[in-house]
């Protein structure tokens, strides 16, 4: 069985056994997730139903395939997964059957056929060290491949924290000179969908928005869709009342942990992490890290790897204090030195003191 490549989205969904009603429900959910007005759900349904499958080219750079795993596994066979099937994924190394020259041909054909119209998804950071030689595919550096593929793209989705900010490859000391997609490409609309990995529905949400309105959703300062990255994990966390009451788990197996108290003291980065995990959750809404008993790592924020350690509370020093002991010594030495100087001054004054006698006064 193969689906019709030129069929409209809804036709393909119906062919896969997804009813129109289910589809409408999905669109309404998506619209409300993205904080769009109720009418947008309908508009989205209409637009998506009519939409031809857009060509999507997915290039993996310095990455771990976690982003692909996230999307292909966690939601399958949910409707998000099916929507995802409904795009024309013309090049994705992990998922495509082709390899070698065949794969390269597929890539170039997709780029030529859809010049100026395809959506380019990048996962992984771009190595710039040694002219990009740290990461090559088919004998070409990621840097070259990105520049070439970006030229014909209508929009670029930087998927995952590596593509969005440089991510783990960029962690100190960044041996490969890893950078984000937005550090290289300046003349195309780029949406960052950070996370390690990102939430699947965020990706489909952005694609749906693009198909419906022909534009990218509203982005924040870091290029993330505001609808999903507008609030912190902490503000949406179901454990938040415990934070406010001052009830904290002190270790991963204490009374507090068993009672599901706040994980702030165990290093949760929820207060400074903007993502939708707390509301959308993972694995089809089954659970999410904090619900599973582990603090948020802050994976959708830039440089989360170098932000002072996963198990240190946010209010604790990010690095060990290096200078304080020396400073204490210097302070003590300064104090003693001044004491000696003061004493010497006093002693000198005392030595120079001349006793005044009655005879002196009568002179």
């Amino acid at each position: 069985m193969t689906m019709n490549k030129n069929a409209k989205l809804l036709e393909n969904l119906e062919w896969q056994g997804v009813s129109r009603r289910t589809f409408l429900k999905y669109c309404a959910t998506l619209a409300s997730l993205m904080a769009l007005p109720p009418s947008a759900g309908r508009a989205m349904a209409e637009a998506l139903a009519q939409a031809k499958r857009p060509s999507v080219i997915w290039l993996p750079f310095q990455e771990c395939t976690g982003c692909t795993e996230s999307i292909t596994r966690s939601h399958s066979p949910s409707i998000e997964g099916m929507i995802f099937d409904m795009i024309s994924l013309d090049y994705q190394e992990t998922l495509m059957a082709a390899a070698g020259h065949q794969a390269e041909e597929a890539l170039h054909k997709a780029m030529q056929d859809n010049m100026g119209k395809y959506v380019l998804i990048i996962d992984g950071s771009v190595a710039t060290g040694l002219d990009g030689a740290y990461s090559c595919i088919a004998g070409r550096t990621n840097l070259e491949a990105l520049r070439e593929a970006a030229q014909g793209a209508a929009a670029i989705i930087a998927l995952g924290s590596c593509a969005a900010y440089g991510g783990i490859p960029k962690a100190k000391p960044n041996p490969t000179g890893a950078v984000a997609v937005s550090d290289i490409i300046k003349d195309k609309p780029i949406v960052n969908i950070p996370g390690c990995p990102p939430i699947p529905v965020v990706i489909t949400g952005v694609l749906a928005h693009y198909l419906t309105f022909g534009s990218l959703p509203e982005l924040d300062k870091l290029g993330r869709p505001k609808a999903f990255y507008g609030e912190t994990i902490h503000d949406r966390c179901y454990r938040r009342p415990f934070y406010d009451q001052g009830k904290f788990a002190k270790s991963f197996d204490d009374e507090g942990a068993r009672k599901g108290w706040c994980l702030f003291e165990l290093g949760c980065k929820g207060p400074v992490t903007y993502n939708a995990c707390a509301s959308v959750k993972w694995n089809g809404g089954a659970s999410w890290p904090v619900e599973a008993g582990h603090g948020c790592l802050g994976c959708s924020e830039p440089d989360f790897w170098d932000a002072g350690g996963f198990y240190k509370a946010l209010s604790m020093p990010a690095d060990p204090l290096k200078m304080t002991a020396g400073a204490a010594l210097a302070g003590a030495v300064a104090g003693v030195a001044i004491t000696v100087a003061n004493r010497a001054k006093k002693g000198a004054a005392k030595a120079a003191h001349e006793t005044t006698t009655l005879a002196d006064l009568e002179k």
Binding site: A307, G308, S315, P317, A318, T324, G331, V336
Partner: protein, 219 residues
């Protein structure tokens, strides 16, 4: 530098620098002040000088007769904001966590809504005191650069901390970083401004009381 890097800097190298300058300054000034000494008073003490010292420590925490009526704002405002600061600094759980990680001691904290309320009251008290300092000609006349400067240094960490918790003006991450930065500025300036009274207030009261007691004027 993005906001996360800013936050990591103030939590890392920034904190290291600030704490180092703070510790350096505090030790330096404490040793300097307490090693100054005084000439030995050879006269026979007219009162037990030590007892008078302790008495003065307590006595000067209470307004002298009539003074409360003369300047109630200074007394009430002063008490409210000093106690408020102590509660905010020592009973807000993230702060306790910081102290614990630095010196290894910890104690139970207060629910964050209580600290939030105390913060609002503290900020209000500080603003009223500032207004009073500006409005009252005598206080204004007595105020120098340090008085305005130290007020600002103290006010900013409280304000930014509250704004961060309330998610006002700037994103939380940026505001939290600004909060830590302003607290670090405060730390750096404590040893070298009149804010050093945090360390010397009771020592100097004791000394004054003891000297006066020796002279026969226990107060």
């Amino acid at each position: 530098m993005n906001e996360m890097q800013f936050l990591t800097w103030v939590r890392g190298p920034g904190l290291d620098i600030a704490l180092s300058l703070f510790v350096l300054g505090v030790l330096w000034r404490l040793i300097e002040i307490y090693s100054l000494g005084r000439k030995k008073d050879l006269s026979a003490p007219r009162h037990k000088p030590g007892a008078s010292g302790w008495h003065t420590i307590a006595r000067r925490s209470v307004p002298p007769e009539g003074m409360f009526k003369t300047s109630p704002v200074s007394y009430v405002g002063g008490y409210v904001f000093h106690i408020g600061l102590a509660i905010i600094i020592f009973l807000f759980i993230p702060h306790i966590k910081l102290i614990e990680s630095l010196v290894g001691v910890s104690w139970p904290g207060l629910p964050s809504q209580v600290v939030d309320l105390v913060t609002v009251v503290t900020l209000a008290a500080m603003i009223v005191l500032l207004a009073d300092r500006i409005m009252k000609p005598t206080k204004r006349y007595l105020s120098g650069f340090q008085d305005w400067f130290t007020w600002t240094l103290t006010f900013l960490p409280v304000l930014t901390g509250w704004l961060a918790v309330q998610h006002l003006l700037l994103p939380y991450t940026t505001m939290l970083a600004l909060h830590i930065l302003t607290a670090e500025l405060l730390l750096v300036f404590i040893p070298f401004t009149k804010l050093f009274h945090a360390f010397t207030v009771f020592g100097s009261r004791w000394f004054n009381g003891a000297v006066n007691g020796h002279k026969g004027v226990p107060v």
